[in-house]
């Protein structure tokens, strides 16, 4: 056997070699910024230096040809330096305002929309889905592509009341993250157990321990060690599936999509908020998920029409109240939206604050 190469455990690389020279020179010395147009940020340093950043949307899962195209644009129209945002947008930095318009043209001619800044709907944070995840109830890249096609103009404009972050997650573990509007696959039936495989594939105590409601018990089925699920207790969270794939939770028909709203990580104005579930039961209709798009757009445009300047979706709902949110968005408030998990009483209305 050939000598194995010992890794260089270098950890996080130094970002200094990759910084645009104006960024490097003015590191920690910026004074203010403004936005000359949607998709463009203009930062001014205490030194008087200025830099323009042009932000464009990408498909996140990029082939090498797309990456090389973006590099060609950066070399020809920008100054060879880029960065990515947490929502997989790409930013090109230039030190000359005259380079902004040609850069925007080059990006848009190549199919990369310029936008995503300020009060826009930014690119959707998402998970891996059917492309790479081992427990996905749906796809992620496809849902995002379908939805961003519909929200394309809202990415390129800045005319929402405040910024809008969206996310999608292909199961309830919700790797996609918190967002103003989030789309999350929800399992609605307990796992289907393939008892022939459990003994070989699963460490049974670990699976039992994983269940948040103690619905899983060891059992002997057809003379073989296996597991059984108390289906009345099961909340269909899917936590048993990763350590035990024979407990199949995904279901082509019964895996549904749910919509959550009002998540905000920023501390601006109010404290950060978690997003809340407002709808469920939407069909997993690949390849365009039209029912999901329709509901997201309904919520988004109701917010756009009704919220005041600077109100994030959570700020808007706080002002108008949840009952009115459901009325305005034409969403049914069902018993499944009343929290019954640990700490749930904190979510109940312990006041006479009621709007009529």
């Amino acid at each position: 056997m050939a000598q194995m190469r010992t890794p260089i455990e270098s950890g996080v690389p130094d970002n200094k070699p990759y910084l645009h020279p104006t960024l490097l020179k003015n590191y920690g010395n910026w004074k203010y910024h403004d936005r000359p147009r949607p998709g463009v940020l203009h930062h001014v340093s205490h030194s008087g230096d200025e830099v323009w950043s042009v932000r464009a949307g990408t498909q996140r899962q990029m082939d090498v040809y797309t990456i090389r195209k973006l590099c060609d644009i950066a070399d020809t129209y920008a100054e060879g330096h880029v960065r990515f945002t947490i929502r997989s947008n790409i930013e090109f930095m230039v030190s000359d305002p005259n380079k902004v318009a040609p850069l925007i043209n080059a990006l848009e001619e190549s199919g990369f929309p310029v936008g995503g800044t300020g009060n826009s709907v930014s690119m959707i944070a998402h998970t891996q889905g059917w492309l790479h995840c081992d427990i996905p109830g749906t796809d992620a890249s496809g849902v995002v592509k379908a939805l961003m096609d519909e929200l394309y103009d809202e990415f390129k404009r800045e005319d929402m009341p405040n910024r809008v972050h969206l996310s999608t997650s292909c199961c309830e573990i919700n790797c996609g993250g918190q967002a103003d509007i989030a789309i999350i696959v929800q399992h609605t039936k307990p796992p289907k157990i393939n008892h022939d495989l459990v003994a070989n594939a699963c460490e049974r105590p670990a699976v039992v321990a994983r269940c948040p409601v103690a619905a899983i018990r060891p059992a002997l089925v057809n003379g073989k060690p296996s597991l059984e699920v108390d289906e009345k207790k099961c909340i269909c969270c899917g936590a048993c599936y990763p350590p035990c794939p024979p407990m199949q939770i995904n279901d082509p028909e019964h895996s549904k999509l749910a919509i959550w709203v009002g998540g905000k990580n920023s501390n601006a104005r109010g404290k950060p908020t978690f997003m809340k579930m407002v709808a469920s039961g939407l069909p997993n209709n690949a390849p365009r998920w039209p029912e999901v798009s329709e509901m997201v757009k309904k919520i988004l445009y109701t917010y756009k029409a009704d919220a005041r300047p600077w109100e994030r979706l959570s700020d808007w709902v706080e002002r108008i109240g949840w009952p009115r949110f459901f009325e305005k968005c034409d969403l049914p408030f069902t018993k499944y939206l009343i929290d019954d998990w640990r700490g749930s009483r904190a979510n109940l209305n312990a006041s006479t604050h009621i709007r009529f």
Partner: protein, 432 residues
């Protein structure tokens, strides 16, 4: 020569519409790679049947216990043979990005070349934990791809019960709201735990995230076990030229409705210039010849709103550092948890300050490693044992900023009350 493409009628539909299409990218790669022809075959099958077909396994690189996400196809025919054999293995390498996700084209091209040679040619910038996701390599190519990326100065990130790859915002590199050197903190803290990233041995995952201000662009408060969020202690700075310019453009209605009324603690007031209060904690700035904004900094919660609206006219102070919160996470197993304040303010200016941050991280991870149950996140551990036990475990003093309200239930054994009061009084006295 690539094999014949499978029919992909559903994926084809995702090529229409204005947003960039990942399907078009997959097709471009499939022109040269049988690997991607079959990958598209499997993905199309998922679209048709609405089921996923990947399972995990064990694939890694020499010397490391994690960092590669193995995927083997479960889509097999009656004889147990993969239906799409060329894509039967589709592993992902998680690679740690530079802080702030800055690149130049030279490094991106080199990454693309390496991944074209050894992998599928599909790269995600970035995964939800911040890693560059080199998506799709066969088992026997993983080591070659890693070796070349590693020689280029890049290293694998975390997977499984390990310290995970971190994220930091654009920060001091391009943001006036940055309150510390995020990239330095990110690199210095994370590189302390390189061993814990590469060799998963913790109870469960542990994530650090670094945001330069409380706009928290990295979503550290909900998505990290230890959130480092920039803030300041002294007074807000003001700039009259920019304040007047803002007011000329936006006018009185916007100033009142969008700035003054939206202050969560009502600490900004509009005053006649002659009436502005004087004092150590007061900042003020003229918006025209007669009117002025007055800010009582002692009641400012550093929420960033007014600074976001009037960028440059109002700015954070110069005595900067970070608030540290511990225990954020979502869903499994007890539900959503926000991070909890454990250090209201840690200065981040000097070498010693940054070392102090590293040491706090070490204490938190050590305590987590020793006290969390299997598959339990830090926030869940704190809920189980109580915040006070956690604070005592890592050697931090209690502070009223750690709670929204004091306790509301009476069930507490308070027989150590007098001792605690004496301790706190002594501490206050010592601090002068």
């Amino acid at each position: 020569m690539a094999k014949k493409m499978h029919a992909t009628p559903m994926l084809d539909e995702l090529e229409s519409g204005p947003w960039p299409s990942f399907v078009t990218g997959l097709k471009r790669l499939a022109k040269d790679k049988d690997y991607m022809v079959d990958l598209m075959g499997q993905l199309e099958t998922s679209y048709q049947t609405r089921k996923g077909y990947w399972k995990g396994g064990t694939v890694g690189v020499f010397g490391y216990g994690g960092g590669v996400i193995p995927r083997f196809t479960e889509l097999k025919d009656a004889e147990g043979k993969p239906q799409f054999p060329d894509a039967a293995e589709f592993h992902t390498l998680r690679v740690q990005p530079p802080a702030g996700m800055h690149y130049n084209t030279d490094i991106l091209r080199k990454m693309a070349d390496i991944w074209e040679r050894h992998g599928s040619g599909l790269i995600a910038f970035h995964g939800q934990s911040g890693d560059i996701m080199f998506q799709g390599a066969k088992t026997d190519k993983v080591q070659d791809a890693f070796d070349e990326l590693n020689e280029l100065g890049f290293d694998l990130g975390g997977a499984g019960p390990a310290v995970r790859t971190s994220m930091s915002c654009v920060g001091a590199a391009r943001c006036e709201q940055s309150c510390y050197d995020e990239a330095r903190a990110h690199r210095q803290v994370l590189n302390t735990f390189t061993d814990d990233i590469h060799r998963p041995a913790l109870p469960y995952k542990f994530k650090f995230k670094f945001s330069g201000c409380s706009n928290d662009c990295m979503n550290s408060i909900q998505r990290s076990d230890m959130a480092v969020i920039g803030t300041w202690r002294d007074n807000m700075r003001t700039d009259e030229t920019l304040a007047r310019k803002w007011f000329e453009k936006h006018g009185m209605n916007e100033l009142v409705n969008d700035v003054i009324n939206r202050c969560p603690t009502k600490t900004i007031m509009l005053k006649e210039v002659k009436d502005v209060a004087k004092g150590d904690k007061i900042s003020s700035v003229k918006i025209n010849d007669t009117q002025c904004l007055e800010i009582d900094n002692s009641n400012c919660v550093r929420c960033m709103h007014c600074i976001n609206v009037m960028t440059g006219a109002l700015a954070h102070g110069t005595d900067t550092g970070a608030t540290i919160l511990v225990g954020g996470k979502r869903t499994l197993k007890i539900g959503d948890l926000m991070g909890t304040v454990v250090v209201p303010f840690m200065p981040l200016k000097t070498d010693a300050d940054y070392q102090q941050l590293v040491e706090l991280g070490q204490k938190v991870i050590d305590f987590f490693a020793e006290n969390a149950l299997e598959h339990e996140r830090t926030g869940e551990m704190i809920e189980r044992i109580g915040l006070v036990n956690f604070l005592e475990g890592i050697g931090l003093e209690v502070d009223a900023n750690m709670v929204s309200t004091p306790r509301t239930n009476p069930y507490v054994r308070a027989d150590g009350w007098d001792d605690e009061v004496a301790k706190i009084n002594a501490r206050k006295q010592a601090a002068g």
